[in-house]
Amino acid sequence: MATTAWPDRSITGDDAVERPVAAATGEPAQLERKLSSRTLNLVLLVALLLSIVLATAVGAVRLPLSQVLAALLHPARAGEAHEIIFGLRLPRVLAAALVGAALSATGVLFQGLFRNPLADPFVLGTSGGAALGGAVGIFLIPSLSFAGFGATAVLAFVGSVLTMILVWYLARAGGRFAMETLLLAGFAIGTMLNAATVVFELHEEASNSGLRVLAAWLHGQLGILTWSQVGLLAPLVGAAVLLALPVAGRLNTLALGEEYAAQLGVSVTRVRMATVVLGSLLTAAAVSLGGLIGFVGLLVPHFLRILIGPNHVRLLPAAALGGATFLILADTFARTAFAPTEIPVGVFTAFLGGPAFLYLLNHRTRESRQ
C-alpha cells in the first residue's frame, strides 16, 4: 500500500495567528456587505414622506401631487381641497403610519424577547387581547371617554399586557420557548376574542355604534379618524420607540440566551418587563387606531433583517420607519384598488403576511428538526 505524503505541520504552534483560517474554509457564508443603517434610515424617511404625499393625493377625488404638496406646506392656501386633505385623508394616512410603525417596532421587540422571528403582536395574540380589552371598554363603560379613547384605550393596554404575560408563562418550558405553545396561545386568545364578540352582539343593550367599531376592529379597518386621536397617539408611539432603543441593545445580549445575558450583568427581569410594557403600549396604540392588523410586525422586520442584519438597535428605528411606509401604502391600496368598495387593510395584510408566515414557519421547523 502506497503511503501518501503527509505534510507535518504543527497545529498548536504560536504561528497559529498567522494561519488564515477563514481563507482555508473559503468563506462560503460570508455575508455581503450590509447596507449602512444610516443610509437605509434616510431612504426609509424619504420613502415615508413620499408615501404620505402620494396617499393623500389618491382617492375617490384624485388630487394632483403638486396641489397636495402645496397644501401640506401652506395649509391656509389649500382652498377647496382643504376638507379632503386635512379633514379626511391626512388623519387616516398619519394613523396608518402610526399603526404601521407601532406594529413593526413591537414585532422587533417581541422577536428579540422570544428569540423567535415569528413573534408578532397579532400571532402572539396580544393584539387580540388588546381588542378584547377595548371591546369590554366599548360595551361596558362606553360613557368613559376622552378624545375618542378613554376607557377603551386603557383597557386595550391592560388586555395587551395580560395576554403577553399569559403567553409568556404558557410558552416558557425549561428556560426555552416552545414554538407550538407560543403559536397556540395566540390562537386560543383569538378564538376567545371571537367568542366574546358574539356575546357582545347578543347583549341587547349593546349600542349599534359599539358593534360597528368592534366589527371594524376585528377586520383591521382604518376608518374615519379624528385629529385628536392621531395627536394623542403620535407622541405616545414616538416616545415608546425612543424608550425602546436602549432596550433593543440589551435584546442583542439576550440573543445569547437569558442565562448568558444574566452572566454578562444584564438584568434580564428588567429587560423583559420593559419590553412587555413598551410592546404592549405600542400594540394598544395600534389596536385602538386600526384594530387587528396582522403580520405587519412579522413582514417588515423580516425584510429589513435581510437588508441590515439582525442587530436590534439598528433594526428598531428602521422597522418603525419602514412599517409606517408599508402600512400607508397597504391602506391606500386597500381603499382604492376596488373602489368604491374599501377592503379593510387588515384583510390585505393577511393576504400578504399569511403566506410569509407559513414560509417562515416551515423554514424554522425544518431548522429545528436538523
Binding site: V17, V21, L256, E259, Q263, P310
Partner: protein
C-alpha cells in the same frame, strides 16, 4: 499575602432532594490552570454556575479575589469572571463580530455606543482565538471548533481574571481538541486563570497540573494531577472496576502517565 482568585468555603448545593455538593472547599491561585473532572450529572456545570453567581449556594461562601461573591456588583462581576457555556444557540443571523462584542456589555452604559477601548478589546479577543477572518460569518453556520473559539472570544472580551469553561472540547475532533487546549495554555501563560470542566482524562492528565475531581457520594478531591488521577480514585468516582480502566483504555490508567 494575596487572596486566591476563587475560593469555595464549605459550599453545599442541592438540586431537589439530591445533594450535589457537600461542604466543598478549595482555592484556585492566580494563573493556575485547573481541570474539573467527574462523571455525568455529578455537578460540574452546577459548580461553574455557582462560581459565576448564576446559582446561589445553599450553605457556605464563595469568594472571588477575597471578596464574597454576593458583594460584587452586577456589572463588576462579569469583568472579573467569564463563564464559557457548553451550549450556545443564537437566533437570527448575527455575525461573529457582533456576538463577541456582547462580551463588552459589562463595560457599557445603557445609553451610548461602545468606546474605542471596547472595539480594541473585541479585536484583541478575536485575534487571540484566531477568528478575525470569521468576523462577518453567521454564528449558526460555523463548525463546532469555530463556535467554541467564538465562545471563548466573548469571554476574553470581558477581560476577566478567571475563565470558567464548561466542556470546551466536547464534540470536537482530536485536531480541534489539540488546538483548543493549546489555545487555553497560551491564554494561561498570558496570565489568565482557568477552570475547565473536561471529560477526556488523558487530555486532562497531559495538560492540567491540578485537578478537582467530583464524585457522586457527593465528595470531592482537589490537588496535583498525579495525586488525584490515581486509578483507584478514578475507578471509584466513575463507578467502574479498576481492571476495566486498564482493559478498555490504551493507557493502563491516566494516573500512570500524569506528570507533576
Amino acid at each position: 499575602m494575596t487572596s486566591p482568585v476563587l475560593e469555595f468555603r464549605n459550599v453545599s448545593f442541592s438540586r431537589g432532594p439530591r445533594l450535589l455538593l457537600d461542604r466543598m472547599s478549595f482555592a484556585i491561585e492566580k494563573q493556575e490552570m485547573i481541570a474539573l473532572v467527574g462523571p455525568n450529572g455529578v455537578g460540574k456545570t452546577t459548580l461553574l454556575k455557582l462560581a459565576s453567581r448564576l446559582l446561589a449556594p445553599a450553605a457556605g461562601e464563595i469568594r472571588l479575589e477575597g471578596k464574597s461573591l454576593g458583594a460584587w456588583s452586577r456589572r463588576e462581576l462579569p469583568r472579573a469572571i467569564a463563564l464559557v457555556p457548553q451550549e450556545l444557540e443564537i437566533p437570527f443571523n448575527f455575525p461573529v463580530e457582533e456576538i463577541v462584542a456582547q462580551g463588552r456589555v459589562p463595560y457599557q452604559p445603557l445609553f451610548g455606543a461602545g468606546t474605542e477601548l471596547d472595539r480594541a478589546a473585541v479585536e484583541d479577543a478575536m485575534q487571540a482565538v484566531d477568528i478575525v477572518g470569521l468576523r462577518h460569518r453567521v454564528y449558526s453556520e460555523l463548525s463546532g471548533g469555530e463556535r467554541q473559539r467564538v465562545k471563548i472570544a466573548i469571554g476574553l472580551a470581558q477581560q476577566p481574571k478567571l475563565m470558567l469553561l464548561d466542556e470546551p472540547t466536547q464534540h470536537l475532533d482530536i485536531g480541534r481538541q489539540i488546538e483548543l487546549i493549546a489555545l487555553l495554555r497560551r491564554l494561561n501563560q498570558r496570565g489568565l486563570t482557568i477552570l475547565a470542566a473536561v471529560h477526556d482524562l488523558s487530555l486532562v492528565a497531559a495538560n492540567f497540573a491540578s485537578i478537582i475531581l467530583l464524585t457522586p457520594e457527593p465528595s470531592w478531591m482537589a490537588g496535583p494531577a498525579a495525586e488525584v488521577l490515581r486509578p483507584d480514585l478514578v475507578a471509584r468516582a466513575f463507578s467502574v472496576g479498576q481492571a476495566d480502566l486498564g482493559r478498555y483504555f490504551a493507557r493502563p490508567a491516566p494516573g500512570a502517565v500524569a506528570q507533576a
